[in-house]
C-alpha cells in the first residue's frame, strides 16, 4: 500500500486531503466534499485506492473543530 502515491493520485482528480491508513482501509480526510456525489469521480477515486493496494476508500469530511487534526505538521 502506498499512501503517498494515493494522495497524489487523488489530488490529480481534485481531491486534496490527507489519507489516514487503517489496514487496507484508506480514509480520505477533507475539508470539503469536492463533488463526490458524481459517479465518475467516485469511480476514479476508488480505482486510485485499489491501484495503490487499498481495498476500501472512505471519505471523512472534517469540520472546523477537526480541522487542526488534518494537518500533519
Amino acid at each position: 500500500m502506498n499512501v503517498e502515491n494515493l494522495e497524489r493520485a487523488l489530488a490529480e482528480i481534485g481531491l486534496h486531503g490527507i489519507v489516514e491508513v487503517r489496514g487496507s482501509l484508506a480514509v480520505l480526510r477533507m475539508e470539503a466534499d469536492a463533488g463526490l456525489a458524481d459517479d465518475e469521480l467516485r469511480f476514479l477515486a476508488v480505482d486510485a485506492a485499489e491501484r495503490n493496494g487499498f481495498t476500501h476508500l472512505a471519505l471523512e469530511v472534517v469540520d472546523d473543530a477537526d480541522r487542526a487534526a488534518i494537518h500533519r505538521d
Binding site: 489496514g23 480514509v27 480520505l28 466534499d33 456525489a37 485506492a49 476500501h56 472512505a58 469530511v61
Partner: protein, 284 residues
Amino acid sequence: MTEPRGVPATSLADEKERALVAWLRDRGSVLLGFSGGVDSAYLASVAAEALGRERVLAVIGRSASYPEEQWRVAREVATHLDLPVAEIDTEEMADARYVSNPSNRCYFCKTELWSKLAPLARDRGLAVVIDGTNADDLSGHRPGMQAAREHGVRSPLAEVGMTKRDVRDRSRARGLPTWSQPSAPCLSSRLQYGLSVTPERLGQVERAERRLRDLGISGDLRVRHHGDLARVELSREMLALWLSPIPMRMMIAAVRAAGFARVAIDLRGFRSGSLNILNEVTAA
C-alpha cells in the same frame, strides 16, 4: 447459480419450490430458526402450507446482537403467516470467544443458538431443525454453517438449490411482505474483527442505522464499527443522493449523535462481507 438458457427463471423457481415442498413433507415436521428475514419468512410460509401450521414451530433467538427493529419485523411476519412462534434468549455475549470477535465469531453464536434449539425440537417432537440458508450462502466465509452441521441442522433452501433471487421471486408471488426487504445480518457483523463485541458498541450501530433510516436512506445500509470511526456503506443509488453537501452533513450528524466520534462514507458503497474483504478473510 447459473440457470439454463431459454428457461424462465420464474419457472425454475417454481420447480425448486415444488422440490422444497417435497423435502419438507419427507420430514413431516420442523423447528425453524426464524429471524423474520427474507429467507426464513419464505421458508416458514412454505413449511406451514406444506405441513400444516401445527407441525411447524418458528423460534426467534433474542440477544443484544439481534436488532430490536428486526425482532419487531419477525413478530409481524409471524402474525401475518399465523405461525406458532417461540422466543428464546441466547447467551453468546457470555462466551469470551464470541466477545473477542474473531473471524469465526459466527461459529460461537450459532453453536449457542443450535444447542438450545436442537433439544427444544426433541421436546416438542419435531423431526428436524432447519434454517434459512440459501444456495448463495454456500460460498463465502460462513463459519456459522459449521455449527449447523455439528448440530444436525438442515438447510432445505440450499439443498434444493434456491438462490436469494428465487426466494425473493417466490416470496413476491406469495404476497409476503418480506420479498423486497434488504438482508439484515446481526449487528455484530458490523464490528471490525478483533474489536470486542459489547452491548454499547452494538447499541451505537443500531442507533446509527435507525437514525439513517429515519432520514430516508433506503436499500442496503451498513454502519461498520472501526472503534472511534464509523464507516457508512450505502447502495450506489443512495451514495449519489447522499454525498451532496447538505444531505451528507445530515448523515454525519445522525451517526455522530449515535455515539461515534468520527464518521466516514465508503466511496464504493455497500459490499456484502465488506469486513471480510478488509481483513482478507476468505472461505475455508
